[in-house]
Symmetry: C2
Subunit: 680 residues, 2 copies
């Protein structure tokens, strides 16, 4: 007996149960025509998942319930597994709000199948609450329910007997994090298997992260082997956000065979009905013809925000499936940024973008990315020179626009900057206590920031409004880490597509854009070879000093402060510096540190300077920064949450520092007071 199963890898629009249900219902009808017995949808496929505190609005919850009933009613002659919020209005969450579960429903012939908890749905047990996840904030765990009901988890985690092709089959259905068992008390798949499950089905709403799919293949593949059960993984596509972080969802729904291998997989970032058949007796999965990866026009709303009548696309004869295996990191980053940025702009209704183009790498890469997303005709690249901008960078800026065949303009800012400085310094300030007037001075450093804000808040914001669109924040993660950027200047815009990339990743993305995306030198060679520089003063030009950041080292140092699962602090850095394995620890080029820092004192001074900025003033800037398309294992924003604190150096750091400096026979110098005013 072979059972035909399909994963409905759909785009989920967060907060729009009407739109999502529309899509689910269409997919159910389509699956019926394809002879599917069991159709699986992702976790939270009706409400969406990252919704902030919209979970606290009962009106929204009631609609999620209502739309769930529509899906149940549509399950005539088919079995449908779908994720939704389940509400028990008679009970409370710990916060006193209505009891909410993150649940999987199994519907067949218009009815829900019962489970051992007494509820007709399966409840998520392991509620992730790290990184961007807030499950414990909103949902009640199966574990807590078992305590309340004096039920054992062993009893509660029983597979659900489902009649498929006329025979009872025990389905072990579980939700997302319940498959990632490493540090939870309860191993959900093991318990389901131990209780006699014949097939494991994981429904997920799992944001894309670089490297995560490989880890999943290891973890889920191992479960399939260990329990000798096929594991189905069903994930959605689309974007969801929690304000500061915009996540892409890559789908990649797949089936793990009992050999632990991925037997078939839906394409990355594409809607798809992934079909396969399962022979219960032989426990084998047979891959079916899946030549229709792109199911729908993915926009689920019409202009008035009502659910749209969906049109099924014609089957592509040779689908362009993106396979991340063996791709360079830049290719996967490009894929995620292109997908995330385009969907975010679409959700915001933004069709035109202004990109401040300086001639540096960040804005050039940004421009090329937006040109692919919106089309070059829908961009304005604006170069905004002051007297410090070189001919070299102005030329690069123009070349990029020319190569992209986009719109280009030059708006000089010197006159406005001079006017601002004059207004700040020449207008008298009257003191009503003394009845005297006085005036202020503007330093050359303050002039730098005046330039940056003139470009961001005056020109780009004004242009974006005049164009009826938005403007881009081109900041990268290296700059955001230490606040090497100006409030309301370059940390401004509707979205920061490069905000989760280290500077070296921006360069790699630039090369990838030339070589693979455009397949010609859209970004001219000079943009890769000039010294990065903010060009805001005589001292900071492409000819002179350039940026104070040494990206080949600082990218890796900064990454250790935020991206290591157990975050590195200065004491960890000094420990490895002392042990002479710091480059290995950080993952940067061997021999670099000795080359860069002539003495331990110089090394320590650099470390303290940047750490103070990272843990100090830059936090204030990040609090007001635009949302970031998030791709790394830890992005600034809601993923890596921050309080504004006074930077702290641990006791062990201070001991190490003293010992290292003493050993180097260098006078211990007092740590410099942090230069918290450093800005681009």
């Amino acid at each position: 007996m072979s059972i035909t199963i399909a994963c409905g890898q759909m785009e989920v629009l967060p907060g729009r149960p009407d739109v999502n249900t529309n899509k689910i219902l269409d997919l159910i009808e389509k699956a019926k025509t394809e002879g599917v017995d069991l159709l699986v949808f992702p976790e939270m496929s009706i409400p969406g998942y990252l919704l902030g505190d919209l979970w606290e609005q009962p009106a929204f919850l009631k609609d999620c319930e209502h739309f769930g009933e529509q899906v149940i009613a549509a399950s005539q002659n088919i079995t449908v597994i779908f994720g939704n919020v389940a509400i028990d209005w008679q009970k409370y969450n710990e916060d006193g709000r209505p009891r909410k579960y993150n649940a999987a429903f199994i519907a067949q012939n218009g009815k829900l199948l019962p489970t051992n908890t007494g509820y007709p749905f399966i409840i998520k047990n392991s509620l992730p609450n790290y990184r961007e996840f807030d499950d414990k904030r909103h949902f009640y765990s199966l574990n807590w329910l078992c305590q309340e009901q004096k039920l054992t988890l062993k009893k509660a985690l029983h597979p659900v007997p489902v009649t498929l092709q006329g025979k009872k089959t025990k389905l072990g259905v579980f939700l997302c994090e319940d498959g990632w068992t490493e540090h939870y008390l309860t191993d959900v798949p093991a318990m389901l298997a131990g209780n006699g499950a014949e097939l494991l089905v994981n429904i997920s709403c799992s944001p894309f992260t670089l490297g995560k799919n490989n880890k999943r293949h290891r973890v889920f593949g191992q479960q399939a082997t260990q329990f000798q059960l096929p594991v189905i993984y069903c994930n959605n596509i689309g974007i969801q956000n929690n304000g500061k972080n915009i996540y892409t969802f890559d789908g990649c729904s797949c089936v793990y065979g009992i050999n632990g291998k991925v037997l078939c997989q839906a394409p990355m970032f594409e809607e798809s009905l992934l079909r396969f058949s399962w022979n219960k007796k032989s426990n084998k999965i047979a891959v079916m013809d899946n030549t229709m990866p792109s199911l729908f026009d993915t926009q689920g709303c019409d202009k008035n925000n009502a659910p749209k009548k969906l049109k099924i696309r014609k089957p592509k004869t040779s689908p362009e499936v993106f396979d991340e295996t063996n791709q360079p990191e830049a290719a996967i980053i490009y894929k995620a940024l292109e997908y995330g940025t385009s969907h975010f702009l679409e959700q915001c209704g933004i069709k035109y973008m202004v990109i401040g183009i300086s001639g540096g790498i960040d804005s050039a890469v940004s421009a090329a990315l937006y040109a692919k997303i919106l089309g070059p005709q829908n961009l304005i690249l604006v170069n905004m020179p002051s007297r410090y901008n070189s001919g070299t960078t102005k030329e690069i800026a123009q070349l990029v626009a020319q190569n992209l065949k986009t719109n280009y303009m030059i708006i000089p800012i010197q006159e406005s900057v001079n006017h601002t400085v004059a207004q700040l310094t020449e207008n008298p300030i009257h003191n009503y206590a003394t009845n005297r007037d006085f005036k202020l001075d503007v330093t050359s450093f303050q002039r730098e920031n005046i330039q940056a804000r003139d470009r961001g808040a005056r020109i780009q914001a004004g242009l974006a409004a005049a164009m009826g669109g938005g403007f881009s924040c081109n900041s990268n993660k290296s700059e955001l880490t230490v606040g090497y950027a100006t409030f309301y200047g370059d940390i401004a815009g509707v979205v920061a597509p490069l905000g989760d990339l280290w500077k070296h990743q921006v360069y790699e993305l630039g090369h990838y854009l030339n070589e693979h995306v455009f397949q010609k030198e859209i970004l001219p060679p000079q943009v890769f070879s000039i010294k990065p520089s903010a060009e805001l003063s005589q001292a900071q030009t492409v000819g002179n000093g350039g940026d104070p950041l040494i990206y080949e080292y600082h990218d890796y140092l900064f990454s250790s402060f935020i991206e290591k699962w157990n975050k590195a602090a200065p004491e960890d850095i000094l420990e490895h510096y002392q042990a002479q394995d710091l480059e290995t620890y950080l993952g940067c080029t061997a021999g670099l540190i000795t080359k860069l820092f002539p003495s331990p004192a110089a090394f320590i001074q650099d470390l303290e300077k940047w750490f103070k900025l990272f843990a100090g003033f830059s936090v204030a800037k990040r609090i007001q920064a635009p949302p970031v398309i998030s791709v790394s294992r830890r992005a600034y924003g809601y993923d890596h949450r921050e309080a504004q604190l006074v930077p702290y150096f641990s006791l062990h750091y201070q001991e190490l520092k003293a010992a290292i400096l003493e050993a180097a026979e260098v006078t211990v110098q007092k740590a410099p007071i942090p230069d918290i005013t450093l800005k681009k």
Copy 2:
């Protein structure tokens, strides 16, 4: 036998275990000289509590452990209860990081007392994860430990026997949320009492919220009565933040007698050693002489961020204790804003502030508040007229500066705005696809936002830098709710002191400032009587239309969207509108709605317009808004978390709308597409 007990109501500096321990050690010494037997410190008094993800940095955790050991060592001849993070480096949290507990330690004669869990500390069981709280993100619950260790909560929640005055006393020590038992499975105080506790001690790190202390008095007072045990409540003062929200901690440590009444209380927002004696036999609390509410100069760091040698202040003979009982709301709001803003500026090292002063109520109240905090000599009030600003408001602006005896200047922006418009419209844009040039237009609406950004990002940010300080964001909660403010214009600045106040609360605070804080008319009468207006166009002046918001209604409508525990949605509003009890439901003036809206259609149009802004574009603005001093039951930011979503109107809303409009015999008009570009 009488036992002398004290609460060490200290200021906790988040993320500075060195500074906090310094203070704890001094307080222990002081308590010894005062004959204290049992000294109680707040929850997380060593590390601080709202630290974002600093909890993930092992170096920081190790120092917290180390400083905890110093406190333990200092407990010679005294018993000390203190809150700290407890780490079990051999075990894991669910996220795979080192196991962390939010714990209370009882130290006596240099040693920790054992508990029933096998650990020498008491573990918090109820981990709050609503509003600003993230306990489940970082800490492992006692409940989970009990599951892991196959221990019953009844056994784990045993009071700790402590020898006080030579006799064993069973102390029922518990942490913060464990006293707020309503919706948790385990009633911790009841279990402690049932297990024979003779005294209940709650250590907290509880942020100030309007109305919360009254609720605590009911909840904790009821426990004291029910169990016939005195309840000690020890809370810290200071400020802590999680980026977007700055919370004040009001202390108000107190003792509840077995009659449920507060017998003595430490002052609000003041360091204090609250002493009292407990007669174990009679179970009576005797209040002691507490004429030293202000213990220390509260700044714990010196200029180099090292812990400071603390100086104990001379006892005040008549301490100015602020008692919130019977105070008007505006008095309590003033107290919290003054405390929160001043401490936040101090932590940021900001001594000078620029306040854009328009002549409206928000900036006037803001100016008066900062004048009290920093002194009028450290402010610049800047009026930035364009051609739309009236003589009336310019006069008010100047009068406020004059009355405050502060610094005042006028910087007109018309020339700069004209220059910007000219640059945006006269510079040709070259299209490299067609090789033709084109130009853009700027609408009058876009001119409005150019003015706002010119004031914020060009003038105020520039002035603040020239002054070596910051500038204020004067936005209120009504504006923030619907984004009635401009990106990089008036939603900008280091902090928004009024960002958690509805417009009517800003007016009330204005009156309070005049009548009680300054005791003269610092804010001239006109500022209360003119029509609120942004003065950004001919149509929007104090003479003409004024703001589109009708604060006496919209303040209350907006509050229902965010501040109700179960958030109101448009369907709830329409239900109450239909039932004709909407004013009661919202809490606004009776008869108002009929007066404001001539027809159901007009009412619905208004509701949809604002809800779409609230749930739509304004979220983008809040994501980039400055931190808010938080005082209400729900503040924008990390307290009320938001995703950028497409606004959603529920099915029931649509039914109600159709029914209401039909009943009114009005043609159903299509909902207007949201005017997402509305800005101030």
